[in-house]
């Protein structure tokens, strides 16, 4: 009887010890596999980053936490080193990057599309030149049947209606790209307003909406309104977009191809620190108001393994994320551009003097 008890007790002990050992091992492997990357920043690319993160976690068990707290917050957080990467809709200037030891690279491309509310005009048929668009936003062209708009659209019967200008109320990368374009094409705009995520809009007949949906709803409600929204938003809501004259003097429609043309034709090689804004780029098919959303990382990394995990994720996004991006109406970064970016990683990102990326 006693002997039996002994055996049982011994068995139980062995079993529990074994279980503990198993558990320990499990914990070890789980720790080795479950990597976590933290990022924060821009709201505009959030949907695609979230999709990429979801798919990537399924494939590799690497978890990506991306908090879309806004570009300003993203820049502040990466500077404070609380996240592995930051994201910004507007590129940082080379001086600012050097000051805080950061590098940036484009991750996804988007664009801005002017949209109008003009009854009995077929969607996508109105043509505008850069100068006319700038003068509309400066409040110098006040009516839709202005001679300068008529001249660009001989076949269209333009109404005698006053133009209501709609812009974003909240600070936004969309505004940054749009105003950057206007300052490139109009000296007066550059001098009077300049560009930024929020600007002092000229006192024209204007209203401001919060977010793309705010701008879109004003454009829809106000007869004779013109506004600007992100390409994906205009597409998904079937808004009445405008054809724009690009640098080569050709009228282009906002399409994935025209955005990609702008990104491919841009001179990335000679842009220091990828400080390149894709507005008003050369090329017959280039949509003039294109912009990239950027990722920010520290040049000097503390943890080589972690940094490599982060770069592996971005590498996957470049090479395998294009389909997902197009599905969500984002424009993927062209191959020649991401090859260039990966060369930069090799050169610039280091841990203890060793390059992190060596593929």
């Amino acid at each position: 009887m006693r002997f039996r008890m002994f055996i049982i007790a011994g068995l139980a002990l062995a079993l529990s010890l074994g279980l503990v050992a198993c558990k320990k091992q499990e914990g070890k492997t789980a720790k080795a596999q479950a990597k976590v990357i933290n990022g924060a920043g821009a709201t505009f690319p959030y949907p695609i980053y979230a999709q990429w993160a979801y798919k990537y976690e399924k494939l590799t068990r690497t978890k990506i936490n991306y908090q879309s707290i806004g570009s300003g917050g993203g820049v502040a957080q990466i500077k404070a080193k609380t996240v592995d990467f930051g994201a910004s809709d507007a590129p940082l200037t080379p001086e600012e990057l050097n000051e805080s030891g950061l590098i940036q690279f484009p991750m996804v491309i988007g664009g801005v599309v002017p949209v109008v509310n003009l009854a009995n005009i077929i969607a996508g048929s109105l043509k505008l030149s850069p100068e006319v668009l700038a003068d509309i936003y400066l409040g110098k062209i006040k009516k839709w049947n202005d001679a300068r708009i008529k001249q660009l659209n001989p076949g269209i019967n333009l109404p005698n209606k006053s133009i209501t200008v709609v812009h974003r109320a909240d600070g936004s990368g969309t505004t940054w790209i749009f105003t950057n374009y206007l300052s490139k094409v109009s000296d007066e705009w550059k001098e009077k307003v300049g560009f930024g995520k929020a600007v002092a809009w000229p006192k024209a007949n204007n209203v401001a909406g919060k977010g793309n949906e705010g701008v879109a709803s004003f454009v829809k409600n106000v007869d004779g309104a013109i506004g600007y929204v992100e390409f994906a938003y205009a597409l998904q809501n079937k808004m009445n977009y405008v054809q724009l004259k690009n640098k080569e003097g050709k009228y282009v429609k906002p399409m994935i191809e025209s955005f990609q043309a702008a990104a491919a034709n841009a001179d990335w090689v000679n842009a220091p620190c990828y400080y390149l804004v894709l507005t008003d780029q050369p090329g017959a098919n280039s949509w003039p108001i294109t912009g990239a959303s950027f990722i920010l990382m520290h040049k000097k990394q503390q943890d080589k393994k972690q940094a490599r995990t982060v770069l592996e994720f971005f590498d996957w996004c470049y090479r395998h994320g294009a389909d997902l991006a197009v599905k969500l109406d984002y424009v993927p970064v062209p191959e020649e551009v991401y090859n260039l970016v990966e060369a930069t990683w090799k050169k610039e990102i280091k841990a203890n003097g060793q390059p992190v990326w060596d593929k």
Binding site: T43, I69, G70, S71, G72, G73, V75, A76, S162, T164, A169, D170, G171, S172, G173, V193, G194, F195, G196, K197, A198, V199, A200, W201, K203, N205, N206, V207, A208, G209, K210, G214, S217, F218, N221, V222
Partner: protein, 311 residues
Amino acid sequence: MKLLLEPSTQTRNDGIFRLLTIVAASFILLIMILLFIELLSNSWLSLEKFGLQFLLTNVWDPVRQEFGALSSLYGTLVSTLIAMLIAVPLSLVIALFLVEMAPPMVSKFFGMAIELLAAIPSIIYGMWGLFVLAPLMAKYVQPFLQKISGNLFLFKGPPMGIGMFTAGIILAIMVLPFISSVMREVFLMVPNVVKESAVGMGATTWEMVKVMVRYGIQGMIGATFIGLSRAIGETMAVTFVIGNSHSISTSLFAPANSITATLANEFTEASEPVYLSALVELGLLLFVVTFIIQMVSQLWLKRVQKRMGVQ
């Protein structure tokens, strides 16, 4: 036996309870002071750079880093004023209806419906204002007002449905439940004796109501200030409909801005230190304005108390 034992535990419990209340109460004061210090220190950059000019200029130029709060301050005060002008008389009438005129069942039903209004989140008011109210305003209300006023300066400009006036209306709807339910309580507290004596002396309903209003004036002022402090700090709903333009216009149909709307719009993407600091100073300004309003309301209440002969 038990009774004899109790006093000592009672006094001890009393002591604990007393301490607890003191700690809890001083916590509020502490939070307020810390908040003030935090706002002050974070807006120091802007306070130093712009000084008093911050209150007096109407520039808001993030590109050139020049900021002035005048348009936001103006928008906050005017939109709140419009809201109060609409909400206070309306709440008074609603409260009187519920207490004096309506049959009990109807009164209960309406009372609940009004309190339900208070439970709706402000973003819903904002969305509703933008997608439902604004088009209606643009199509019917604003052209009508322009027509009957003979294009008065207050109603000039293209009717776009948004702007100061619409923001005021939304705010009025939002504070209505707060003001009217407090006013209802106030009227319910008027002793029947007072009402009966009024009626007994041959007063009509209207005259009796005047007596009730006189009796409840203190509570009514209190109700008004509850609504006011809610209206002045309201953010989401206003942001959607006020138009968000940093300009001051005599027309109520023109797009404007308020302190809270500016903060909600621009805080996330503000990266330059001066810009951020100017935004925090806007928050500080709202803090100070609310504080002043509270002080004025207390003083006013005191005066009313004296005049009405209540101790």
